[in-house]
């Protein structure tokens, strides 16, 4: 199975639980587990080759221009981590099936779990660091969903938010670090980066890259000073904690440090930063862990401590220490997952995780007791379990590392580690049986204890026969980490001269003493004031939120004019800066002469524009003047060799004015004068400056030649030969840039549907609807709402107008016209019927609703585009041909015309839907409509009164 498929399988699997949950919880868990099992089998099939030292790769070009490719590779380290992720994942799926209660949505849980699993697998198999970053952020997001799975618990939500903020923030820093790394190495492929260790360490950018990447790794792996998020993430259901905090999420940071070890390790910066962070975390976690009463909190701090231990080993920068780190990753994953699951069992059965309320459980839960004891003693580092082996090797490495403070602190950490492990076992399970448990516990069924028992068996087997059960994978992974062949030497007995032996004995002895003194120490600890990570975090977040709120309130305080003014001033300022900081030569392009007609049009436009500004409080007059401006613009288009634009502009103008008239019907007819003179002066200054700026810019543009060769020539040269039409504008719209047009008609359709939706909300019961119902027209009604002359004239014009529309549509490919203009013309012809004969009469004769027209238009355009696939051409490739059917002359048919039909229908539907929505509002507001022609009945009724 390709490594790419192994990484993708869990994501595919994430789709299944939501479906399978309908078939029951067992089916859901089985299917989810099968997908993980499939991926695991696919992975293990590669194991023999990887253990021989081969590297399995898969490469899919994704965005080669950005250096971002979906490349995957599987080496020893990837194999180790992927096995942990998928293997423990499988156990977690089994465990969760029996752990989750009936009230918990299980499909959702498995979906989140599989997303997370896929993201983790992706991290450890990525060969491209950009791809790795994508998966990295995916783990932050999916772990947010998992930690906050119990949405009803405030701790769950807060813990999830904190985890996301810390790990996501670290991820952002890591993106920067990875980009620097890729920049130095000249490639974003890990395999290349791993070869360029020398160059990277010698680079000036080494330290920034190191710091940023470590920030990402430390936040993820809860290293000091970011350790505070992990215990709060314990609000998650126990299967999540067991998965995230033993084998996966927090190991991602460790994985990354191990992965980049050949590149980044070995410098003094690496040694001091990584070793001290790891050492502090190890001691701090162990000390705090001893004083936690919540089983999961104790395990959480123990995890923090052990992660610190692994980090410290990686920080040493020696091959032997890295090998121990790899070995401890395996051991920690096995005993910690088992312990979390056992803690979950206790919680599940006794309904509490508080150690102070437990004790004596060995009589009631012998199986859980056995599992916890095996895993707990391994955590303490006692023989013959696997934790003992890696702890001995760790102590050996630490003892030989200068300065002396390192072995001393390690010993301190190890002592506390023994103490909390013993406390976990003795205070929960040993002692007399109590009779005040919240719920009388007993061992659960195999479903719950099966998974931790399997892991406990591994703990024993690796402990007894390390070379048989773990030696090979440790060798393969350590060889990958150190980029050189490693032979693991794992012994139970290091000899009497070994400092590790004496340190171990001291730790066990010290641990027993600490346990004996726990009662007194605990009271002392509770009385000592300590900085609380969560409080600092909350204060920091509160500060940021207030800051963001303050900035938003100042910049975005609800006054539209204010931001518009700010934006305009900013743009003006930037433009002026650009203008004065560059050099300019006067334009060389010859000016066109000013014809009298043009000057007259210009005068009309300027006068109308000025009139709008001065008289804008009289709204009806403003609309008349807007019409003048629009008309002049369209005349200008016609004059300046753009007949298509002139046609479009004039028909849009009609539709716009009708729309605004309909709206103005409801709005106040005048704008009250509220602005102060100062405000008006300010606004005039801003508007005037912007106007002068825009005019100067376009003048400068028009008086200069093109800076680059224009692509218009291509379109002119190929319009006839490739597009089959002589109207280049139309050919560009429906052929060369057909994809853009497709997007644009879609937007237009969405706008129309939006208008319809807004109308629907207005017509629904509510305050707006009440106002609408009680609305009284503030204008006198016309004496004759549907004048006979107008009705007759529009009806006679309808066929002619439709004919003109069809004519404009058909000729569009070769002479001015086309779908846009035809759609508008036909829309206006229909609107005239509404205006003359009334809404009711017209609506009764309308066969097709306008939503359908919009949908049909977009679908026809899409189908035309898809049609080119059947001719093995790319989307939207057009074709045309000439046909001769007697008695017609030879004529041309182009697929672009079909596309244009889609444009036509969408435009028609959108305009009509917008205008008819306004009419529906008018009807609701109490305006009468007639269903009879010519308004006759209405008149008679009026006459009767």
């Amino acid at each position: 199975m390709s490594p790419a498929l192994i990484a993708v399988l869990p994501f595919l699997g994430a789709l299944l639980p939501g479906l399978m949950i309908r078939a029951g919880r067992n089916a859901c868990a089985t299917v989810t587990g099968s997908v993980t099992l499939l991926a695991l089998i696919g992975l293990l099939l590669h194991a023999p080759a990887v253990l021989r030292g081969e590297v399995i790769t898969a490469r899919i070009e994704w965005l080669p221009q950005l250096g971002l490719n979906a490349t995957f590779f599987l080496d020893g380290l990837g194999l180790l981590f992927a096995t942990l992720i998928l293997g423990i994942g499988l156990l977690i799926i089994l465990y969760a099936r029996f752990y989750l209660s009936d009230r918990d949505p299980m499909g959702q849980f498995y979906t989140y779990l599989m997303l997370f699993q896929g993201a983790m697998t992706g991290i450890v198999l990525s060969d491209n660091i950009l791809l790795l970053l994508v998966f990295w952020e995916l783990t932050s997001l999916s772990s947010f969903l998992l930690i906050g799975y119990w949405k009803h618990l405030p701790e769950g939500r807060q813990g999830a938010r904190m985890a996301l903020a810390v790990t996501g923030g670290g991820g952002l820093a890591m993106i920067a670090g990875m980009l620097i790394l890729g920049h130095i190495a000249g490639s974003y492929d890990l395999t290349v980066i791993l070869q360029s260790g020398e160059a990277i360490r010698a680079s000036d950018w080494y330290l920034p890259a190191l710091l940023l990447i470590l920030l990402g790794a430390f936040t993820k792996s809860a290293q000091f000073p970011f350790q505070f998020w992990l215990p709060h993430a314990m609000a998650a259901p126990t299967p999540v904690s067991a998965y995230l905090h033993s084998a996966t999420m927090v190991k991602a940071g460790i994985f990354l440090m191990a992965r980049l070890w050949p590149v980044l390790a070995g410098t003094p910066e690496w040694f001091w930063i990584v070793t001290s962070a790891g050492l502090i975390t190890m001691v701090l976690g162990a000390v705090i862990g001893l004083f936690k009463d919540d089983l999961k909190a104790l395990l959480a701090f123990s995890t923090v401590s052990h992660l610190g231990l692994i980090t410290m080993l990686l920080g040493f920068g020696t091959k032997a220490a890295a090998t121990v780190a790899v070995f401890h990753i395996v051991n920690h994953a096995s005993f910690k997952a088992a312990l979390f699951m056992a803690a979950g069992i206790v919680d599940h059965e006794a309904h509490t995780r508080n150690i102070k309320r437990l004790g004596g459980l060995r009589h009631l839960m012998p199986i859980t007791f056995a599992i916890t004891t095996i895993a707990g003693l391994s955590m303490a580092g006692l023989p013959p379990f696997n934790g003992f082996l890696s702890k001995e090797m760790m102590l050996e490495e630490a003892a030989h590392t200068a300065p002396w403070v390192i072995p001393a602190l390690v010993l301190l950490g190890a002592t506390f580690s023994v103490a909390y492990s013993f406390r976990l076992i003795s205070h929960t399970f040993l002692g007399p049986k109590r009779n005040d448990y919240p719920h009388l516990p007993h061992d659960p069924g195999f479903g719950l204890w099966g998974a931790p028992a399997f892991l406990a068996a591994l703990v024993v087997l690796i402990g007894l026969m390390p070379m048989t059960f773990a030696g090979w994978i440790v060798e393969a992974a350590a060889s990958a980490v150190t980029a050189s062949p490693v032979t693991a030497k794992i012994y139970h007995w290091h000899g009497l001269h070994s400092p590790a032996l004496w340190m171990s004995l001291a730790a066990v002895g010290g641990g027993l003493v600490l346990l004996a003194l726990h009662g007194g120490l605990d009271r002392l600890w509770q009385a000592t004031p300590r900085p609380e990570g969560k409080r600092i975090f909350d204060a920091l977040m509160g500060l940021l939120t207030r800051l963001a709120g303050g900035v938003t309130k100042r910049l975005h305080g609800g006054a539209l004019g204010q931001y518009l003014a700010l934006a305009t001033i900013t743009i003006l300022g930037v433009s002026l800066y650009a203008f004065f900081s560059g050099t300019h030569a006067p334009g060389t392009r010859a000016l066109q002469p000013i014809e009298p007609v043009m000057a007259a049009g210009w005068l009309a436009l300027m006068a109308a524009s000025l009139g709008i500004a001065v008289l804008h409080r009289q709204r009806l007059l403003t609309l008349v003047l807007i019409g003048v401006v629009g008309l002049m613009v369209s005349v200008g288009f016609a004059y300046l060799s753009a007949p298509d634009l002139a046609l479009t502009q004039i028909s849009v103008e009609v539709a716009t004015v009708i729309l605004m008239l309909l709206a103005l019907n409801f709005l106040p007819k005048t704008t009250p004068a509220v602005s102060s003179t100062a405000r008006k002066t300010r606004d005039w200054a801003i508007a005037g400056a912007a106007g002068v700026g825009v005019a100067a810019l376009i003048y400068a543009l028009m008086t200069r030649d093109f800076a680059f060769p224009t692509i218009a020539d291509y379109h002119l040269a190929n319009s006839k030969t490739l597009g089959g039409g002589t109207n280049v504008v139309n050919v560009i719209l429906v052929d060369f840039r057909g994809y853009d047009t497709f997007g644009e008609i879609t937007v237009l359709g969405i706008a129309a549907i939006l208008i319809f939706a807004l109308t629907e909300t207005l017509l629904r019961p509510g305050p707006a609807n009440d106002r609408l119902r009680n609305w009284k027209s503030d204008m006198p009604d016309a004496g004759d709402r549907h004048p006979l002359m107008m009705v007759v004239a529009t009806r006679m014009m309808l066929p002619i107008a439709l004919m003109v529309g069809i004519y404009i549509f058909l000729r569009g490919h070769n002479v001015p016209g086309g779908g846009f203009i035809a759609g508008l013309v036909v829309a206006i012809a229909l609107v005239m019927q509404y205006m003359a004969s009334g809404f009711g009469w017209t609506a009764a004769r309308q066969r097709i609703d306008y939503h359908g027209l919009i949908g049909a238009g977009v679908l026809i355009a899409a189908a035309t585009g898809i049609g080119s696939w059947f001719a093995s051409r790319p989307f939207m490739t057009s074709n045309y041909g000439y046909f001769e059917i007697w008695p017609l002359e030879k004529f041309e048919l182009a697929t672009a015309a079909l596309f244009d039909l889609g444009v036509f229908l969408t435009v028609l539907g959108a305009v009509m839907l917008a205008l008819s929505s306004l009419t529906r509002i008018a009807v609701r507001a109490g305006q009468t409509t007639n269903t009879e022609a010519f308004d006759m009945q209405d008149k008679f009724q009026q006459g009767d009164k």
């Binding site: 000016l591 500004a613 300046l640 060799s641 005019a695 002589t726």
Partner: protein, 111 residues
């Protein structure tokens, strides 16, 4: 002629911005319409303006007007109509919802 086109664009922009800085919905909509005109003509003029040249291919023509900005502006005109219509509907909805057509939030609602 360039001067006429440039000054028209400048005038329409200035009036548009002035109206958009008003405090009621209707002038803002009219202002947006004016700015739409100005933008469309601006894009069109960026293809350089000429009078009397055909945009239609023919055997007799020696030069053509630039078709590309024309195609861009054609769709822009239609889309700006769609956007104006949406804005008009929002303004109407706001008018009926709030009972007046002011655009700024009240001080106490400025949160």
């Amino acid at each position: 002629m360039e001067l006429l086109v440039a000054s028209s664009i400048g005038m329409m922009t200035a009036v548009g911005i002035f109206l958009m800085l008003r405090l009621r919905t209707f002038p803002v909509i009219v202002g947006l319409t004016m700015i739409s005109y100005a933008c469309n003509v601006f894009i069109f003029a960026s293809g350089r303006v000429v009078a009397g040249l055909p945009p239609i291919l023919s055997k007799d023509a020696t030069a053509y007007s630039d078709p590309l900005p024309q195609a861009l502006v054609l769709t822009a005109i239609v889309i700006s109509f769609g956007m104006t219509a949406v804005l008009v509907m929002i303004a109407l909805g706001a008018f009926f919802e709030a009972g007046d057509d002011r655009i700024d939030l009240d001080e106490e609602g400025a949160e």
